[in-house]
């Protein structure tokens, strides 16, 4: 990495790589913050690089757009149809950040945004919470009475349904999650509905077919 002031076409390429690698839009300030102070381009330089990048994308499938939370490279709307065909068969996956957030809300509910950020060690983007709330997997279950009255999140009935869980209790316990062997066994059991039916404890005959049911607890 060159620490001297770089020429504008190099700056343009750096910005392009950042925008394509980032899952979220980037603000001008964020981009500038990545540069060492003595090599930091001016705001005007960066704006110019962004403009040059936008122009250079003429005739390509991507375009540079400024949205609410910053600059974003997105595919042009006329190709959305192709992309939806792609996603139809194989829906896109949620980001790691979203999954971790959901998992923390699930295991640590009721939990505030600050607590999630604390455990994950990074800021939590508003869009992740929004997706989880919209999906109706997560809801606000209360507020903590500290300055700012932060909302506390918990999971919903719909979350249990969509993940095919009877209740939160049937999730692997913390010690099981820690121990890989135990986790594998617990997941195995969760995926096997026959094992589930043994839990009701009504019929001994059922339990006999699940010999290791006890060893899992």
């Amino acid at each position: 990495m060159d620490e001297r002031l770089m020429d504008n076409s190099e700056l343009q390429r750096i910005v392009e790589s950042l925008l394509l690698a980032s899952e979220q839009p980037l603000t001008v300030e964020r981009i500038l913050s990545l540069f060492e102070e003595d090599a930091r381009p001016s705001k005007a330089d960066l704006k110019q690089a962004l403009e040059a990048l936008r122009d250079s994308l003429d005739g390509r499938a991507v375009e540079l757009r400024e949205v609410g939370s910053g600059w974003r490279l997105q595919t042009r709307q006329e190709y959305a149809g192709w992309i939806s065909k792609l996603w139809e068969e194989k829906p896109p996956r949620y980001s790691r950040a979203l999954l971790e957030t959901l998992a923390l809300i699930c295991y640590r509910q009721p939990i505030s945004r600050a607590e999630i950020e604390d455990v994950r060690g990074v800021g939590l983007s508003q869009s992740i919470l929004k997706t989880l709330l919209e999906r109706n997997w997560v809801r606000v279950v209360g507020y903590r009475e500290v300055p700012g009255r932060p909302a506390l999140f918990g999971t919903t009935k719909e979350f249990l349904d969509d993940f095919n869980l009877r209740d939160l209790e049937s999730l692997p316990s913390l010690p099981e999650v820690r121990d890989l062997d135990a986790l594998a066994a617990a997941l195995e059991k969760l995926q096997d509905p026959a094992a589930e039916s043994g839990i009701s404890g009504q019929d001994e005959g059922d339990e006999a077919t699940v010999p290791d049911a006890e060893t899992l607890h």
Binding site: V62, T75, G81, L99, L102, A103, C106, G142, L152, L174
Partner: protein, 282 residues
């Protein structure tokens, strides 16, 4: 940049001179021995290191000296009461055998020797090991996704058709949880006991019951149908909520009904919640 060089510097710090001098007089400062040992992947690695680093001279592998050094290292480790892996002792035995063969007069008829010459076997193993050791370094040097290479991503602003929403599997979810807990080193923390998730679920339900400023009596929240365990879970959930300052638990006088409500702006008087809070934080 290899680990061995890192060790060089680690030990040099202790002793104030470069490590490659050390094997010559075999002196390793006791506090550096552990660092030294951790750097090796096993007896082959240690042996290879002794051969490669000692004299910088491959033509003159002084098997006798190396053997001595190796065995003295082993001795040193035992003196220091390090738990020795069986592999190190096995190697020591192998070296001792080679050494004894060298020292003993050669048998007149060598052709009748049974089995493979242990020296040749050792050299073969060292060579093989070294090949894969450098192969692993080459592998590590390849550009890796997430390190040198990043996937370029862009999406359309909106997708017109009804596209199926992503549905992660439970497995993915739990592994994400595991990763984040491992990363935050929370598993090591004292709070990782067998924490009943039913309590956490119940906490959410109680908060919902108390939403909108409703007050409830302790007994209102207990569902008899849930049995004794259900009562315990409910009570634990209330304690947790009070501890986390999410609800206030009030009792105006001894034996009076216990009221619960969401914590609001006003200061709590005689709040049981505060007592619990101090009890927990103490």
């Amino acid at each position: 940049q290899t680990q061995v060089e890192n060790i060089d510097s680690a030990i040099a710090k202790v002793r104030g001179e470069p490590l490659f001098k050390l094997p010559e007089d075999l002196y390793i400062p006791p506090d550096a021995l552990e660092v030294f040992l951790e750097a090796f992947e096993g007896p082959l690695d240690l042996l290879l290191y002794l051969i490669r680093k000692q004299n910088f001279d491959i033509l003159d592998i002084p098997v006798l000296k190396i053997t001595q050094q190796y065995i003295e290292y082993i001795g040193l480790m035992r003196e220091m009461r390090f738990e020795l892996a069986a592999e190190y002792l096995l190697m020591a035995a192998m070296l001792a055998e080679i050494k004894s063969r060298l020292l003993l007069p050669r048998p007149a008829v060598e052709d009748n020797e049974e089995g493979e010459d242990p020296r040749a076997e050792l050299v073969r193993r060292l060579q093989q090991y070294e090949r894969f050791k450098s192969a692993s370094e080459n592998l590590d040097a390849l550009p890796r996704v997430g390190r040198e290479v990043f996937i370029a991503r862009a999406r359309p602003e909106q997708v017109s058709m009804a596209v199926a929403l992503p549905q992660p599997t439970l497995r993915e979810l739990i592994f994400a949880f595991r990763d984040v807990m491992l990363r935050a080193e929370l598993f090591a923390h004292h709070q990782v006991k067998r924490e009943p998730l039913s309590v956490r679920e119940r906490m959410g339900r109680i908060l919902a019951d108390l939403a909108g400023g409703r007050q409830a009596q302790l007994l209102d929240l207990v569902e008899p149908a849930e049995g004794r365990l259900g009562v315990v879970v409910c009570f634990l959930a209330i304690l947790e909520l009070a501890k986390a300052e999410m609800i206030r638990v009030e009792q105006t006088e001894p034996y009076a009904p216990v009221f619960l409500q969401l914590v609001s702006g006003r200061a709590s008087t005689n709040g049981l919640g505060e007592d619990i809070e101090t009890a927990y934080s103490g």
